[in-house]
Symmetry: C2
Subunit: 251 residues, 2 copies
DNA sequence: CGGGCTGTTGAATACATTCAAGCCCCGTGG
DNA sequence: CCACGGGGCTTGAATGTATTCAACAGCCCG
């Protein structure tokens, strides 16, 4: 519920995900926390259910595949990489989790969580314990309603993925990728026009089904055309209109 | 609840989706129907909630984007194409719905359903009316539980999509595509080794981000290597093992 | 039986990948 | 504070794969 903005008065106005935690009211868990009576983060109920606010160092694995999962996890700050590696094949990144977003909803269907979740930078998360819940019938109904909402929102967000990955050429995929990250950051109160990419070029490439070199080259082309301002992982979307045009241009 | 197998004693053992409806016990709505007391398809409750079993002719649009949706739809037979066309761009197919699968779960988050849903062949569906539900508190809780399960299952299924579309080359994508269709058919009681593709090459290509010609050529290559037996839309997966190898071979 | 749509095939082009080399940034240690 | 080292990133040239365009074949439906 409290934020530590840590605003040093530098020229740097971009979002550094690890330096600023999402506010509770922008968090995907907010509805659940509210129903569970967790408006007050110091109460006993709070400690029981949102058991720990965990700090996760960069590179640490939060979850390993096939691990049974009885908590929902909300990203407070930082970023995570969700990946799988079936049968000793190459790693395949299936998505990224940004501040305010939830991890583990898929495990609600009963079976174990199928992905490896690794912190891309120093991060912090809230764990919401689903098993130790003690709610009145009335509250339980509301709680389930909130779960349904969270799931439906995620289902809707997942529908963007085919557009992202089904795009024909590299420029379109990367334009869609940047717009996706941007809108997801904005959705949870971060500036979406200027941010730091939490993932490496290699990770972007893996996720989008491209070569790392292609990602690099397309970024450079965008930069040359004045569409983005990119320097290492620092990105500013200079011309959103043009980016959207590229994203939606059928070839 | 009842099936019309229409088994003509021909040599044709493949699944023709439009000639055979999924059985209720294999349907994604089954849990919901049960809770709602709809074991008996002739009862009044049934007519009230699963209002109509609709027959949808080939090519008809079941839903149009931005349309408000207060029902869940289950595919009984046939198949549907889910697509979007933002701002007059090229159509982008975001998925297919096969017998036993649900359409419209995303609309539970409150906003309108964002896709166009079109029958790929003569189909039939069940509509489950979410607004006219009258359930005891006890049953409502169970009902919500079932909704959560259905959503979580879909969320989990959606996680396969990045693997499908993030694949680097055309052979891998098509192998994954065929395995995906196959397993989804098996899951609802249809033979997964031999079936009729409900969608055109063009649709497959659009969905996978390939050119139609590439789909055609890869199918031919697979055929030549004895991996599949393909004739028009009729497909038999002759060598599942090899198909899986191609699907998981990192390049 | 004919027409039109869907799918196939071939040749030329465009695009992304691969491999290899080098750069730059950042953190470490002197 | 600067030198050093390493990983992430960039750049270039050659290769390979998928696309494009165009023509044709096949099939289904009327």
């Amino acid at each position: 519920m409290q934020t530590q903005p840590e605003h040093r008065p530098e020229k740097q106005t971009e979002t550094r995900l690890r330096e600023r935690a999402v506010e509770c009211c922008s968090c995907g868990l907010f509805g659940l926390c509210k129903v569970a009576g967790l408006d007050e983060p110091q109460s006993d109920t709070f400690d029981q259910i949102v058991s720990t606010r965990e700090e996760v160092p960069s590179g640490a694995r939060l979850l390993t595949p096939r691990r049974r999962l009885d908590t929902l996890i909300a990203v407070r700050s930082g970023a995570f990489k969700l990946s799988t590696r079936p049968d000793g094949t190459q790693e395949q990144i299936v998505g990224f989790a940004l501040p305010g977003e939830l991890i583990g909803l898929e495990a609600l269907s009963g079976s174990a969580y199928p992905f490896s979740v690794e912190a891309l930078e120093a991060s912090s998360v809230c764990r919401f314990n689903l098993t130790s819940m003690q709610l009145s019938q009335q509250h339980m109904a509301e709680f389930q309603q909130q779960l349904i909402l969270a799931l439906a929102r995620q289902a809707r967000a997942a529908q963007n993925i085919p557009m992202l990955l089904g795009a024909k050429n590299a420029e379109q995929r990367l334009a869609l990728f940047l717009l996706d990250i941007s809108s997801r950051l904005s959705e949870h109160g971060f500036p979406g026009q200027r941010f730091r990419l939490p993932m490496s070029r290699q990770s972007i490439a893996n996720y989008l089904g491209l070569a790392m070199e292609t990602v690099s080259r397309v970024f450079k082309r965008f930069h040359a055309r004045g569409i983005i301002d990119v320097r290492a992982r620092h990105i500013a979307l200079a011309d959103l209109e043009q980016l959207r045009t590229i994203a939606s241009t059928a070839m």
